[in-house]
């Protein structure tokens, strides 16, 4: 048992929206270790923010428990949890200066005036806000407001730092910069951080571990590489990175993982797992399952390869080139990503492609042979 960490068991929360009940969080179980950077990831409305707000104490769970250092938080009000929180809108107190915004939590804790000055100055320096203490939040840029809200959450040395989509309101370049800063700050302070985002790239770049949410349920939890390499469901595969789904029919005794691809090729999929009930809509009714292949694992060439196709579209994205390829004779399109453009493969050109069986994961329909 993780004694020092945060343990969430069977957490559920329902809301009533316009008279109809709606399950925001359904039976979520997870553990966050001390000093870990943990991310809850998913599309909007998946329950990640509600879970975060229940950890903060801003929402009351309908059932389930949240324990921190072996202490049940159910009866502890938000203000007594000693948690720091960074909001998407920053939620800076508009009538207080930067200094007073940051000092707020220290004043509540009865810290002596001299020490307040010192600690606020320290944390403002840490976030490169030195010299801005007298300004009002409205006169700061978005990035600066973001730093103030982080400073305010860190100054009283909370046990946990919660971040609710903190980068959503920043422009792309600043977003990349701030996420590196948040990560290095968290490493330096060794604080447990729980981060909520809908941006999968951000989640993979910043997290020790991440949890993927879908419609209130926790679908998969693990290190970014593990989740990317072995998505538990087609939803996760699709949400984390780019993915190709190819409907297949199974052959053989049903245990071997032998499948027939739409273009007639027989393949022994590298791994096999049952398709999640929610994924059945993605698999055509006449197929036994689907195999998933990442675009960068497909070989593309002008002459060599098992399958023939035609280039429908080429997207040059700088560090990679993305090809959309129509497979000859069957209604299947595949995405292929290469590090650099392949000579002779412009739009409309004929091509050959193929992938190793080890890179294919089979998601089989329940009840299929």
């Amino acid at each position: 048992m993780a004694v020092d960490g945060l343990v969430i068991t069977s957490l559920s929360k329902r809301f009533v929206v316009g008279g109809t009940p709606f399950t925001a969080v359904a039976d979520v179980n997870l553990t966050v270790e001390p000093g870990e950077f943990f991310t809850m990831l998913g599309p909007s409305g998946c329950g990640k923010t509600t879970t975060l707000r229940m950890i903060a104490g801003l929402e009351t769970p309908d059932s389930g428990a949240i324990r921190f250092r072996d202490r049940d938080l159910a009866t502890v009000p938000a203000r007594q949890r000693n948690i720091g929180m960074v909001f998407q809108s920053y939620a800076l107190f508009p009538h207080l200066s930067v200094f007073e915004n940051v000092a707020y939590g220290l004043r509540l804790r009865g810290v002596a005036a001299g020490e307040i000055g010192q600690r606020v100055a320290e944390v403002l320096d840490l976030l490169q806000l030195g010299g801005h203490g007298d300004r009002l939040p409205a006169s700061l840029s978005g990035g600066q407001q973001q730093r103030v809200s982080i400073a305010r959450a860190l100054v009283y040395r909370p046990d946990i730092l919660l971040l609710d989509e903190p980068l959503a309101n920043l422009d792309a370049k600043l977003r990349l910069h701030m996420r590196e800063e948040i990560r290095s700050l968290q490493r330096r302070l060794g604080i447990m951080a729980i981060y909520v985002t809908h941006d999968q790239e951000e989640a993979m770049a910043i997290s020790d571990r991440l949890a993927v949410f879908d419609r209130g349920k926790l679908v998969q939890i693990g290190q970014p590489t593990a989740v990317y390499e072995s998505p538990a469901t087609l939803f996760v595969a699709d949400f984390i990175g780019k993915a190709n789904f190819i409907p297949v029919r199974r052959v053989g005794d049903g245990r071997s993982g032998s499948v027939v691809l739409p273009w007639g090729e027989t393949m022994q999929a590298g791994r096999t797992m049952p398709a999640a009930p929610d994924d059945l809509g993605v698999i055509p009714a006449d197929a036994d399952g689907a195999i998933m292949v990442r675009p960068e694992r497909i070989a593309l060439d002008a002459q060599a390869g098992a399958v023939s196709g035609r280039i429908k579209r080429v997207q040059f994205l700088g560090s990679i080139v993305r090809y959309a390829v129509a497979i000859a004779g069957v209604p299947v399109d595949l995405l292929v990503e290469r590090a650099r453009p392949i000579h002779g493969l412009s739009e409309g050109a004929a091509c050959r492609l193929g992938f190793a069986a080890a890179d294919a994961i089979l998601y089989k329909r329940a009840g299929a042979p």
Binding site: A78, Q88, S89, A91
Partner: protein, 549 residues
């Protein structure tokens, strides 16, 4: 920039000069000239103002105005603040109903409520008689400071309530949550975060009540008795002594007080902090003690505020009402006897208020456009000239128009036009404000797109701007119309026998102590305005309270 908005700005300046500058100049000249003397440089005098130094009744009226308006403001705030917090932050029952009912005191003319207090607490009032009969106690008189303050506070508290409730609802709830996360208790959050955030809204609401109370004529004229305030003093100087000069001097003093209030108001509203957040999801207290306290407080205030209107309605159906608590015989007799008068005066009111509203809509929208989209240089000047009449006491407008439009070049006394112009001057700022905020929300790129597609300025207005701001304009227009139906403080000086309005007819009935007929006419007036507002809010799909913000 097209020529059309510039032209509109010029038009606004011309209208401001004729309808505001010229009459106010007359008030100034009259105030510094003695009654019966020709206005000239040699005749300039301060004698009219001297009365404030030597006459006890002038001094009393001045301080009574300050004290009763201040008292009404404090009482209104004391009622409105807890109510606003309860509606915005507690999970109360029937929220839409509470919001709808809270608007009624603003729609119903305050003086109708004032004489209902006489029926309740006057010398022969229902409550007075009951208490005397049961306990043998004689209640303090409703006439005077007490009655005026209570009636004004209950009439105008919705301004503070609606503005503060709106500010609370618009504030990003994450700010209060952030305070709780750093460790602040609920009381501490309220004191150090919530209240400072809504303080500008509270200040704006309070000053609005103060300015409205300062200019109110109907309530003190009915409940004041011997207790004179500046507007009633003006009225008696002009109607009792036919002295336009002393009346003008008092009007200037009344105006000075109001402008002082406006100056504070604009200084405060400039400090308004931006806390708007589109996706904010309000968190509300759901525990039983909080809900019970909130519900109880809200309904006590609402019942108090609506009781006068209920009494008026009850009295309107009373055929005979002797010494009993409730009427002994009910019937439609009162309505039958005022029917003829009701029809003509309602028709007059609809014509006058309708014409003024239409003028406000056209003019207010165009000036708002010129102000919002125009060059910054002229903006503040336009803003000021159009905002000033918003706070001008009605009697000051009345005095100014009486002075200015009695002689050539503009002879309007006794016509419908003088009332329409006075109404227009008093209310155009309202349309201007709602149009300006609606136009401000329309991305100017939409107009650029329209122009790129080949539309002229007029076509862009017609096809893009007006459809987008239409609902705001209709809402504003309906409210202007509704508040004009009960207008009395300017009308009382400017109306003529041919153009008697429904509010004047009620006022005359109250003054001749014909309270039963006054109640019938008052109820008809209330019902008419309420129906207009209800139909409009139904058509627009908005809550009535949203229309007032």
């Amino acid at each position: 920039m097209e020529a059309a908005p510039v032209l509109a700005g010029l038009l606004a300046v011309v209208a401001a000069v004729i309808l505001l500058g010229y009459p106010l100049a007359h008030v100034l000249i009259n105030a510094f000239t003695l009654n019966g003397q020709e206005p000239s440089l040699a005749n300039l005098t301060l004698r009219n103002f001297e009365r404030f130094a030597i006459s006890l009744s002038y001094q009393r009226a001045f301080w009574n105005s300050v004290v009763s308006s201040g008292g009404a403001t404090l009482l209104a705030t004391a009622l409105a603040l807890p109510m606003a917090y309860a509606v915005a932050r507690v999970e109360i029952s029937w929220r839409p109903l509470v919001l709808a009912l809270s608007v009624i005191p603003l729609i119903a003319p305050p003086f109708i409520g004032a004489y209902a207090w006489i029926m309740l607490l006057g010398n022969n009032g229902m409550i007075t008689q009951t208490v005397a009969g049961l306990f043998g106690i004689k209640l303090p008189s409703i006439y005077g400071a007490f009655g005026v303050v209570v009636a004004l506070a209950l009439s105008y508290f919705p301004y503070v309530f609606l503005i503060v409730q709106g500010a609370l609802a618009a504030a990003d709830p994450a700010i209060e949550e952030a305070a709780a996360m750093t460790g602040a208790s609920a009381g501490r959050v309220l004191r150090t975060i919530t209240f400072p955030m809504i303080a500008p809204a509270v200040g704006a609401g309070m000053l609005l009540v103060f300015i409205k109370a300062l200019g109110d004529f109907g309530v003190p004229s009915i409940l004041g008795g011997e207790y004179q305030v500046l507007p009633t003093l003006i009225y008696y100087q002009i109607h009792g002594f036919f002295n336009l000069n002393t009346g003008s001097a008092i009007a200037i003093v009344n105006l000075a007080l109001t402008v002082l209030g406006l100056a504070v108001l604009s200084a405060i509203s400039r400090r308004q902090v931006a806390t708007l957040s589109g996706t904010a999801r309000a968190t509300r207290l759901t525990n039983l003690p909080a809900r019970s306290a909130a519900n109880a407080f809200i309904w006590v205030v609402l019942v108090l505020a609506l009781l006068p209107q209920a009494v008026v309605l009850l009295y309107s159906f009373a055929e005979r009402w002797g010494d009993t608590l409730l009427p002994s015989v009910y019937g439609l007799g009162n309505y039958r006897s005022v029917l003829g008068e009701a029809l003509t005066t309602t028709w007059n009111t609809v014509l006058l208020a309708g014409a003024a509203t239409a003028a406000c809509l056209v003019f207010g929208t165009i000036t708002a456009y010129a102000t919002v989209r125009g060059k910054a240089v002229a903006r503040w000047a336009l803003d000021l000239t159009i905002m000033l009449p918003f706070v001008l006491p009605g009697l000051v407008v009345g005095v100014a128009y009486l002075s200015a439009f009695n002689d050539p070049p503009f002879v309007l006394t006794g016509t419908a036009a003088i009332l329409v112009f006075a109404y227009f001057t008093r209310r155009v700022a309202f349309i201007f404000r709602s149009a300006a905020s609606a136009i401000g929300q329309v991305d100017s790129k939409l107009e650029e797109v329209s122009a790129v597609c080949g539309a002229s300025w007029a076509e862009t207005m017609r096809r893009v701007m007006v459809p987008l701001i239409g609902p705001a304009l209709i809402a504003g227009g309906v409210l202007v119309f509704a508040t004009l139906v009960g207008e009395i403080s300017a009308t009382v000086l400017l109306y003529s026998a041919n153009w008697k309005t429904i509010s004047i007819a009620i006022y005359e009935l109250v003054n001749s102590n014909d309270l039963a007929k006054a109640s019938a006419l008052g109820s008809l007036c209330n019902a008419f305005t309420l129906i207009v507002v209800l139909v409009a809010s139904g058509l627009l799909g908005r809550n009535m309270s949203e229309m007032f913000r």
